[in-house]
């Protein structure tokens, strides 16, 4: 009927193919997101806290706050 024969389309295994593609993609994306969160947020935050408290002098900090006048009990 038609002048040129069309190629036979994929008849079977459509869901399996889609699942494989999307499963691999989903695993990669979630691993990527978890890794970037770990390094971009979690480790960075841990480092920030470690750096802050390495040379922290709480008495000096308290004196600064007292001089600024925010306490009611220690003027």
């Amino acid at each position: 009927m038609s002048s040129s024969a069309l190629t036979k389309p994929q008849m079977r295994g459509l869901l399996a193919k889609r699942l494989r593609f999307h499963l691999v993609g989903a695993i990669l994306v979630s691993l990527g997101v978890a890794a970037s969160y770990k390094f971009g947020v979690a480790e960075r935050r841990k480092k920030a806290y470690a750096d802050f408290y390495r040379n922290y002098d709480s008495k000096k900090d308290f004196e600064e706050m007292r001089k600024a006048g925010i306490f009611q009990s220690a003027k």
Partner: protein, 173 residues
Amino acid sequence: MFFRAAWSFVLGKQKGGLGMRKVHSPGDPAPSKGKVPAYTNYYAQRSYPMPDEPFCTELSAEQRALKEKEKGSWTQLSHAEKVALYRLQFHETFAEMNRRSNEWKTVLGCVFFFCGFTALLIWWQRVYVFPEKPITLTDEWKAQQLQRILDMKGNPVQGLASRWDYEKKEWKK
């Protein structure tokens, strides 16, 4: 696509709609593309592609002859006859049915237009309806509040006080 189906249902044109109507045959079996017949009982959509009733039910004499020929072997039908039979049965091909349209431009334009109109309304409201700002929202009060937070060293590790340089008394670069 769904709107056309819903609308034709409301108008009673669909099967089981609010008022049943007889099908109005458009005449020739190949209607001009892009021109939908005004009234039709035909309700096929992409999600419901093969309804029971054909598109044209009132057939001319030669169309009836063609339907008789269809009852025989299909290898004897010419290409034009097969197309004619298709057009009797279906209103549009899938390609025609799924054609793109420029409706999205209209939709987006109207959305933006009404967003802008809403903005004008809100502006008017701000000028003519809102009362005076409370004292806590004035700039002097907010500056004093910020100074107090910095004195208390709020969030000194990663937050606000960590961005303030206490020696130079300015924000860190």
